[in-house]
Amino acid sequence: MKRLATMLALLLATPAPAFAAEAAAASPKFNALDTLWVLLAAVLVFFMQAGFGMLEAGLIRAKNAANVLMKNVMDFSFAALGFFAFGYAIMFGGDGALVGDSGWFLIDAKSAADGVPVEVFWLFQAVFAGTAATIVSGSVAERFRFKSYMVVSFIVTAFLYPVVGHWVWGGGWLSAMNFHDFAGSTVVHAVGGSFALVAAWMVGPRLGYFRKDGSASPIPGHSLPLATLGVFILWVGWYGFNAGSTLSMSDPETVGRVAINTTLAPAGGAMSAMIIAWFRFGKPDLTIALNGVLGGLVGITAPCAVVSPVSSLVIGIVAGAVVVFGVDLLNRAKIDDPVGAIPVHGMCGVFGTLAVGIWGQKALGAPLDGLLMGGGASQLGVQALGTASCVGFALVSAFILLKAVEMTMGLRVEEATELRGLDVDEHGLEAYGGFQIFTNE
C-alpha cells in the first residue's frame, strides 16, 4: 500500500511542471475560437455515447437492457483511461509509419491541431475512440460476457484503434498516400464495424435468433421510443463529429458544407432505407428508417468536406440502400447483429470512404476529383486501398484478441444466463425493477 502511495504521488507530481511549463510558454499560440469549437464539438460527440446507449438498449430485449447500458457507461470510462494512458501516444506520438510512441499519459504530448491545446484535442480524439469501442457493444448485445467485454473494449481503445488512427490521421503511412477520411468513415466506423463483425461472428447468434431451418426469426426491440431518441441524439452528436473535424473555424465555408452534408445525407439515408424496405417488405419499418439515418451519417463521414450537397444526398441515399441490403446479407451469413451495427458502421463506413473517390471534388479540398467528377479512378484506388488496409488490420487484430479472450475468460455467458437475461445474472438487477409488481419483500 505504502509503495503504491509513493508511486502515485510521483505520478501526480510529474505532469505538473510539464503542464505548467507549456502553459507559460504556449498560451499566446492558442486560438480561443478554435479551441471553443473543438471543445464543443467534443461535447457533442461525447453525447453520442448516450445515443448509442439508448439505441442499443431500445433495440434489444428488456432483460438485457441494463447490461448493454452498463457496457456503454463503462466502455467510455475505460476508453478515456486507455486513450489517456496509451492510445493518444500511439495515435499522435510522432511520425512513425506504423505507430506513434511518445506522450504516454499525455506527458509532453502535443496537439495535432494548431491553436488548440492538447487537452482539448485529446478530448476530441478520446470521444472518437469511445465511439469506435461502443459500436461493438451493440452487435454482441444480449450474450457477450461483461467482464470479457471490458477487457476487449479497453484493448481496442488503448491499443488497436489508435494504430489505425495513426495511419490515417497521426502521420502514418496512409496519410502520406493522400488517403482522405475527413471524419472517420474508415477510422472510426469501418474499423469499429469490423471489430463488431468479428465479435458477433465469434460469439455466435443469440439463442433462438436462427430457426432450425436456418432462417432468421426476429427478436423485436423492447423500446422503439428509446431507440428513436438514441438516433436523434446520434444525429445531433454527428454535427460535432463531422463539422468538428475541421478542428478550426478558420474556414467557415467548409464547416458549413460539412454541416449541410451532415443533414442531407442522413435525410437521404432515412428516405431510401424506408422506401426500399417498404417495397421489399411491405411496410415502412421504423427501425430500418433509423438505421438508414445512421447509414447516411456514416456514409458522409469521410467525404463530408469534399462533396457538394447534392452529392451528399446521393451518398445518403446509397448508404440507406446499403443498410437494407446489409441487414439482409448478415442474416444470410448467419451472423446475428441485434442493432444493425455491422451494416451501419462497417458497410456504410467502407462505402463512405470509397465515396470520396467517387464524388469528391478537388475544388472543395479532395486530393483528386472523384470518378463521377471526371477525375478518373486514382483517388478511388487510394480510398479502396486505405479502407481495405484498415479493415484488414481490424479484422485480424480483433480475431486474435477475441480468440485470446475466448480461450482465457470466455466470450459468451452461460445458456441459463442468456435465457434469464444478463441483467439479473451478471448485474443482479433488472432494467425495469418492480415495473410490473415488486418482486421482493
Binding site: 426469426s217 426476429p218 423485436p220 421489399r280 411496410k283 419499418d285 427501425t287
Partner: protein, 110 residues
C-alpha cells in the same frame, strides 16, 4: 356461484364495461393477456419474417351468482358485438367467496 372468464380484444373492453355496468354488474377483475388468433399474423421486422402467434387480449374475470349468470353472459355478448363480436367465455363452478375485510363467506360477499 360461477366464475366467468372472458377473453376479448382490447378494443372491446370499453363497450363490454358499459354493458356490464348497464346491468349493474360492477365488480370484476381485468388482466392483460396474450391470446391465440384463428391464424398467425405475418409481419416483416427488419426484413425477416415474423409469425406473430400471440395477440394482445384482455381477460375479464367475473364471479357471479348462478341467478345472474345469464344476465352477465348477455351483457358480455352485447358489449362484445359493438366491436366485432370476438372473444370467448369460460364458465366454471365457484365453490366459495370470502371478503377479506370481515371474513364473510358465501354469495353475499360477491
Amino acid at each position: 356461484m360461477k366464475m366467468v372468464v372472458a377473453v376479448v380484444r382490447p378494443e372491446q373492453l370499453p363497450a363490454i364495461k358499459d354493458a356490464l355496468f348497464a346491468v349493474e354488474v360492477r365488480q370484476f377483475t381485468v388482466t392483460t393477456a396474450l391470446g391465440t388468433a384463428p391464424r398467425a399474423e405475418q409481419r416483416m421486422y427488419r426484413g425477416i419474417e415474423q409469425q406473430v402467434a400471440l395477440h394482445q387480449r384482455i381477460r375479464l374475470e367475473l364471479a357471479v351468482d348462478d341467478a345472474a349468470l345469464d344476465t352477465v353472459l348477455g351483457a358480455l355478448r352485447e358489449g362484445a358485438q359493438a366491436q366485432g363480436g370476438h372473444g370467448k367465455v369460460f364458465i366454471s363452478e365457484l365453490a366459495d367467496v370470502m371478503t377479506l375485510w370481515d371474513g364473510k363467506r358465501g354469495s353475499d360477499s360477491l
